[in-house]
Symmetry: C2
């Protein structure tokens, strides 16, 4: 790292030009923080589309071309591809090129980093932007996606502090607020507040959609159902990878929640309305306190 | 019933002047469909507040006063009060006064109707407006709450068809779309698409709020969590009553959902990413198809 943390990126490589990678590119372009954006990915058609949309400037068909002269790489493909992608890029990665990722899980990505990028550990800084939308793909990307959102950086012990500062500065240029925590804490926290709710929403819609009277049920579902299930519109492959990568923490969270549901079921069966009301009241208060603080209107 | 279904109400009595009852009054006022609105309720302060806000024109401290000259009554208090309210109003209810309700459950309300208003069955038409918001109280009421929303009418065999037409016309004047179904079907359908999601959202927030690291967890929760838990901001007493009144159908739905979660858990434990992705994909498709049809942007 011989550049200022806030200096513009000369050649940015984005692997996986979807909502996350595409919005990162657009945010940096809009901040004047990047000169040229190169897209890499599985399907040439999506990359050409991203180029047509102006999200990237150049389509690279192989890692050698993409990484030639690159000073910054964002890995934004589904986390299930981390091993394959890192194995493919490793031989072409120049010493000193900064690499970060946008994966929603961190321990599995870090395992892949140690497995494939062990010669580059000083400059590979894992991160996770807390942002998303139910739409996916480069068409859904927009330059302000990260404005005011948290980006969690989970640095490796081997990271060069200057590279960590560089990665933080680049995310800050996207408008994000930087947070830092251990990969273990990260994966536990997001199992609880993100991965479990996604699993629950996917599960409810799948449950109802499989009923004989599914059409009738959906015809009476209203705005509460719409909001509760919004995250069931999320990308199936991305969420398969997240759930698989973080399945130990996720299963632990699910089990704790199953305990909560067993308690609620007991209150229903025993007709204990008073305890139910207390529980609802506590939940309401906690939820509203959080929402008012986090999303001031 | 000797009035045209679309004729204005002369004296409307609203029992429970909160979001639902208050918005009903405001909608009818704005449609020129009511001359005078009288509020009845448990706490005089809330009624006085509703009067100050212009939601009601008159505060009644007893049922005799309220019902004197009334031609239309909306019961919009939490369903747990149905028995007490109907017992109190019955002695003062004139023959021919139309009564409807806005309860989110129907079988329990209908039991209360048979128990207390058996002399008035021709003119007591149960209904349920499918509308709500996380805010409650008369301050949250607004005249367009019912615009484009479904109102489910579950007529009794004893109902006068002219009274059913009257109730439908009044809700239509609020901007609602009318649907009709049996109370049994109603309670099963709403256990699935409304009561269960509320229970799940309350449960998740309560679960997380009770953790030692609750503050850390909430500090990383984002917009997906916000939408998933919006309904956990709902009124605790109202939802206690709904869950208690409909607890048999709700427990059946919860059990079916627990089966779904057990299946998801098995997929996680066995690392069956392919099945998980298929399930997520089916859920996403069903959810997006429904949302695009129901909430066209």
């Amino acid at each position: 790292m011989d550049v200022l943390p806030e200096a513009p990126i000369r050649r940015l490589v984005v692997c996986g030009v979807g909502l996350i990678g595409g919005s990162f590119a657009l945010a940096l372009k809009s901040a004047g923080m990047v000169e040229r954006v190169v897209g890499v990915g599985r399907t040439q058609a999506s990359l050409e589309r991203a180029k047509t949309l102006g999200v990237i400037d150049e389509v690279a068909l192989d890692w050698a071309t993409a990484l030639s002269g690159a000073d910054f790489v964002l890995l934004a493909m589904p986390v299930g591809q981390a091993n394959a992608v890192m194995a493919a890029m490793a031989p072409h990665l120049a010493p000193g090129t900064v690499v970060t990722d946008a994966g929603s899980t961190k321990r599995d990505v870090i395992e892949a980093i140690y497995a494939h990028l062990d010669a580059h550990l000083m400059h590979v800084v894992p991160a996770h932007p807390i942002a998303g939308a139910e739409k996916s793909g480069a068409d859904a990307a927009f330059s302000t996606l990260y404005r005011g959102r948290n980006v969690v950086v989970t640095p490796l012990p081997e990271n060069d502090p200057a590279t960590v500062a560089r990665v933080r500065a680049v995310w800050a240029a996207c408008g994000a607020s930087l947070r830092e925590m251990s990969p273990q804490d990260h994966d536990r926290v997001f199992a609880a507040v993100s991965h479990l709710p996604h699993l629950l929403a996917f599960g409810l819609v799948h449950d109802l959609a499989g009923r004989a009277n599914a059409e009738q049920l959906f015809s009476f579902a209203a705005s509460g159902f719409r909001d509760f299930t919004r995250i069931a519109g999320s990308h199936p492959e991305m969420w398969r990878d997240i759930c698989m990568a973080n399945r130990h923490a996720l299963t632990a969270e699910l089990d704790q929640y199953l305990g909560e549901l067993a308690y609620l079921r007991a209150l229903l069966m025993s007709g204990d309305g008073a305890s139910l009301e207390t529980l609802f009241g506590e939940a309401r208060e906690a939820r509203n306190r959080w929402a008012e603080k986090t999303f001031p209107s």
